[in-house]
């Protein structure tokens, strides 16, 4: 029997399926919401137990939070009457009129009311500088850096402090609230990066004296708590300078914070320098660049680029640390809340908690924003390295 005789045309076979059968939907145990729940929430007895516990936790916390922040909260009022327990209002939530009443105190402290536009202009200048530097596609970021590290600090000082025959002088003891928090944080940011780079270069230097002094400074500052550095700045600094140059309270705290942040920044930058391959140094030297040119043109741009996420993380830590200036007697945001919450005019059971919630929200927004930025930059930079 040959093939040609026995071959049947496919068309003759009646029982063969002609068209492709439409695919069946995948079984419900693999896809779909129920399968997702099974795989991600109920995959083992332990996971079932954890899921139940967390659901109960959410059912307990979220309604309580909503009740405190929204439903039981007092929204209007002139004084503590709005926020105390009464017969028809037995559960008292957040005391929002307290915040509304004291908001300008939380922002400006005791800064004279007619001069507060200066603070607003300062906030605006700072915001412009930050956006210019952090937005990686912004035009002329080199001018932005000059603006942020030189122009803005000088202008802000003249603006906020006054004097020089231009503006009415506002003593720093009147500054307060978010203004002080932001001033301390931005001075820390502006000073710590250049100083940190210098210290990091010093630590990697081949000159023994430079190296020893840098290492001593960095390790000393990193080994002690910030609060002792602030104490040192506030009680010892006035001893170390002649009486007539004694710095005011704010300046002392600024010096303390800036030095403290520089030591941490130095370690971050040093890690970035260490990550640059040796060939980059050798290449720079081989084309005849001196130390300054090598660092400025070849090494630092690369090292700082890969360090951006860690620099931002250091800034987050420093931003949180600014709260400590309240212990040496400055009126930062936390201190203004501490003062306002014990004011008899607003003495009510939930005043303190409301104040802390607002402060926490303020710090959370800034810190979380910075950490999202750091993560996005990290992702972007790692994309650039992929081939």
């Amino acid at each position: 029997m040959t093939m040609s005789e026995g071959q049947l045309a496919i068309d003759d076979i009646r029982y063969l399926q002609r068209e492709a059968i439409a695919p069946q939907p995948p079984p419900a145990s693999i896809v779909g919401p129920w399968a997702w729940i099974r795989a991600n929430l109920l995959s083992s007895p332990f996971n079932i137990a954890m899921t139940i516990i967390i659901v109960l936790l959410i059912l307990w916390i979220v309604p309580e939070l909503l009740k405190f922040l929204v439903f039981d909260a007092a929204w209007t009022g002139q004084n503590r009457e709005a926020c105390i327990y009464t017969a028809q209002h037995p559960d008292v939530g957040a005391c929002w009129p307290f915040i509304a009443d004291r908001w300008s105190y939380f922002v400006y402290g005791s800064y004279p009311i007619p001069e507060r536009w200066r603070v607003n202009v300062f906030f605006l200048m700072l915001a412009i500088g930050i956006v210019w530097l952090l937005w990686l596609n912004a035009p002329r970021r080199d001018i932005g850096a000059v603006y942020f590290f030189i122009v803005m600090p000088v202008c802000s000082f003249i603006l906020l402090n006054g004097g020089f025959g231009l503006l009415y002088r506002v003593d720093t003891s009147l500054w307060g609230g978010i203004l002080v928090t932001i001033v301390v944080a931005s001075v820390g940011i502006v000073v710590s990066l250049p100083l940190g780079i210098l210290l990091a270069l010093g630590r990697r230097s081949r000159m023994p004296m430079v190296k020893t002094l840098s290492v001593m400074f960095i390790e000393f500052v990193r080994g002690v708590p910030l609060i002792t550095v602030l104490f040192m700045a506030s009680v010892m600094l006035p001893l170390f300078v002649p009486d007539e140059y004694s710095p005011d309270k704010l300046l002392r705290a600024l010096i303390g914070i800036a030095l403290f942040a520089s030591a941490y920044m130095a370690e971050v930058v040093r890690a970035g320098l260490a990550a640059i391959p040796k060939g980059q140094f050798e290449g720079a030297m081989a084309v005849g660049l001196g130390y300054r040119q090598m660092m400025q043109l070849i090494i630092l741009p690369q090292a700082l680029k890969i360090t951006i996420p860690n620099i931002v993380n250091t800034y987050i830590g420093m931003f949180k640390d600014t709260t400590l200036v309240f212990i040496v007697g400055l009126f930062d945001l936390v201190k203004t809340i501490e003062v306002a919450r014990i004011d008899p005019q607003w003495a009510a059971p939930t005043t303190s908690t409301t104040g802390y919630v607002v402060a926490a929200a303020f710090y959370f927004v800034f810190c979380y924003g910075m950490s999202r930025y750091a993560r996005a930059t990290e992702a972007r930079l790692s994309k650039a390295d992929k081939r």
Binding site: A39, N40, L41, S43, N47, M50, T51, I54, V55, L57, I58, R206, M207, P208, M209, V210, L213, E219, F220, R222, G223, V224, P225, L226, I227, T228, F231, M232, V235, M236, P238, L239, F240, V241, P242, D243, I316, K320, D321, T323, L324, F326, I327, V334, E338, R341, P349, S352, T353, Y356, A359, A360, Y363, F364, C367, Y368, S371
Partner: protein
């Protein structure tokens, strides 16, 4: 054919001010002179200023009577007779107490949350992430103030205390039953020491035997049995020689039991929760740092999941985890100085606060305080360097 290279033999002729050695020497001398001048002027100003303000200098105050009271003392201390030196030790011990307990709590919490963030349970991962992101982005000081002023100070007074397991929680602190050993308790202590020594001996014997013969011994079970089981058996055999001293609610006060001050509780809760968030990130990063190939290789060798975790993943993760974990422990110790904000009598509050205010000797007091923290940090980093050099990967 040889190439004459007489040009290269001669040293390059440069002006002396371009000679790197001269330059580096000049820079260093300049730096030293500047630093020296700064130090000199600071010291001479300080001497002037102190002299003008009639403030004594030197460490004579150490043995003077302190004359102030401290609310929590681990060693004998009284305002009338104790010296500033004793106040220093009280403060230091309080710092160490809160640091050690805080480290224990933060480690357990941090490891649990770090592992939870790698769980296969979606809800657990999200809950752990919310915890970490919230806690890490709010300043510790604010959290401490919240725990102290908004939570603990807002608790009911003594008569309306929250009661649980024989403990009382109110605005004067946490009152828990205190275990009081009865006469026969010495046997249990002896059993504990024997158990620890025996466990150590067994561990070294088992390790040596495994190195020589490859045979494994049930180390974990035997060690647990010796350290926990043996004292427990002796405790029961000796007729349970311990009773609990329960706090008793009196008319105005709680008597007996162990009283934990609200300052202590707030500080402990605050720093533990805060540091746990950072530790959980360290743990997560450490576990993720062990590459998947390690687990797969172990499985392909026929290892079971549990030994894989114990022998392959955890030892490698620990090498990554321990250095940053130590720096978190140091951070916790340093952060305990925030106690000053809520009035817990730690080293900074007692010494840099009260003693500094009473004696006015800022330089000495701040220097001693810094020296304490500095020595803790330096000793820890020394231990860490030794550890790192022991566990460092030896690459070929």
């Amino acid at each position: 054919m040889t190439v004459e290279s007489s040009v290269a033999q001669q040293p390059a002729r440069v002006a002396f001010y371009n000679d790197p050695r001269v330059r580096s020497a000049t820079y260093q001398v300049l730096l030293c002179v500047i630093v020296g001048l700064l130090v000199y002027s600071a010291v001479s100003n300080a001497v002037d200023n102190l002299h003008r303000a009639h403030i004594a200098s030197g460490f004579g105050f150490w043995n003077q009577t302190a004359g102030f009271d401290i609310s929590q003392t681990l060693i004998a201390y009284s305002a009338a007779t104790s010296t500033y030196g004793e106040a220093f030790w009280v403060g230091l011990l309080n710092t160490l107490l809160v640091a050690v307990i805080g480290i224990a709590i933060a480690t357990i919490l941090g490891f649990a949350i770090g592992i939870a963030r790698l769980s296969s349970n979606w809800l657990l991962v999200k809950a752990a992430t919310v915890y970490v992101e919230t806690i890490r982005n709010i300043p510790l000081l604010l959290q401490l103030l919240f725990w102290y002023n908004a939570v603990l100070k807002a608790l009911p007074d003594i008569r309306d205390s929250h009661r649980f397991f024989g403990s009382y929680l109110n605005n004067r602190g946490l009152f828990v039953p205190e275990p009081i050993p009865d006469p026969g308790f010495g046997f249990v202590e002896v059993a504990l020491v024997v158990g620890i020594v025996g466990a150590l001996a067994f561990y070294f014997w088992a390790h040596k035997r495994q190195m020589e013969t490859g045979q494994q011994a049930p180390v974990v079970r035997v060690v647990l049995g010796l350290v926990i089981g043996l004292p427990l058996v002796v405790y029961v055999a000796a007729g349970m020689p311990m009773h609990l001293d329960h706090p008793q609610l009196g008319r105005f006060n709680l008597n007996g039991g162990l009283a934990l001050q609200p300052e202590f509780v707030a500080l402990l809760v605050g720093i533990s929760i805060y540091t746990a968030a950072f530790i959980s990130e360290v743990v997560r990063a450490g576990i993720l740092a062990v590459s998947r190939g390690q687990t797969e290789a172990a499985y392909s060798l026929g290892m079971q999941p549990r030994p894989t975790l114990r022998l392959i993943v955890i030892p490698q993760a620990m090498r990554v985890i321990i250095p940053p974990l130590t720096s978190q422990y140091l951070n916790l110790t340093k952060n305990s100085s925030l106690a000053v904000a809520i009035g817990y009598p730690d080293l900074v509050q007692v010494f840099t606060g009260t003693v500094l205010n009473q004696t006015g000797q800022a330089v000495e007091v701040v220097a001693i305080t810094m020296l304490v923290y500095l020595s803790i940090s330096l000793i820890t980093s020394l231990a860490m360097n030794i550890y790192n050099s022991r566990v460092a990967l030896v690459e070929r």
